[in-house]
Symmetry: C2
């Protein structure tokens, strides 16, 4: 299991789909994950430090977890099947009770940011990604992707996240 | 406190903004609330009975609450200030612990639908709405709104809710 951070939040100009690029905290491997507009907005707006008067959806999720006096211990992206990434939330309540919840990586990351929880990617996910294409090609593709992506401005999604 | 149900989910054709129209369960008063696209999508998709392989954001919120063996007792829309509606989630855990969480009405309703929790609107909200405009005008406006609105097809938002 490898600790990761968000490298870039970007828009794939070919499809106009948001991409969340994760990067090993102590390494060079990157993991691009194509995600939904609402979830990308939830991540980008939080990173922009923009304050909202009312809780946005992932803020509410945070408030619910805090309302239970629970803690988000970590999130783990733990599988990649048919081009779909899978993640899990590891929650702890009263120190002796735990819950492991199935989530999409986008929601998991949007929530982890708000609760200062660390992000991990299982080794099998890096392997599944590498297996799909030879390593050299993989790195070249990631490089190209990074060149083609432009950094997301939260205003790209602003209108989807209010109300 | 008055129990309400969803009357219509619609798009305001002037602004292309989604509107959630609530209606008294045993009465005729309606309460239109303009909401965000992502939240309207979360409500409309659930009502369409469309199934998704992966949990959408409000499905994840449901999974978290169930993971804590908690219960959403009710949601209450309890204030209207400067054209902004306020709501609260009433959660119960272990029967003796409770949490009351501040939420936007759109998130509250999207979650209540998924957890079969009843929806309420405080009398002061109806009054605040009526105070803003004389009653006759109010009813006329609601009628006009209903005529002008067209029912939302979940495909109107489909692309915002995936990934």
């Amino acid at each position: 299991m490898v600790k990761v951070v968000i490298d870039t939040m970007a828009l794939d100009p070919n499809t106009n789909t948001p991409v969340m690029v994760l990067k090993e905290e102590k390494g060079v491997r990157t993991l691009p994950i194509w995600i939904g507009i609402a979830e990308a907005s939830a991540i980008a707006l939080y990173r922009s430090n923009k304050k909202f008067e009312r809780p946005l959806t992932h803020d509410l999720m945070k408030l619910i977890i805090e309302g239970f006096h629970a803690r988000l211990v970590k999130i783990v992206i733990d599988d990649l099947k048919d081009n779909t990434f899978f993640a899990k939330l590891y929650l702890e309540i009263d120190q002796n009770k735990a819950a492991v919840i199935d989530a999409r990586p986008s929601d998991a990351v949007a929530l982890a940011l708000r609760l200062n929880a660390p992000l991990f990617v299982e080794e099998k996910v890096w392997e599944a990604q590498t297996k799909a294409e030879p390593k050299a090609q993989e790195e070249k593709k990631a490089d190209e992707l990074r060149k083609n992506l432009r950094d997301i401005d939260p205003s790209d999604f602003g209108k989807y996240s209010l109300g």
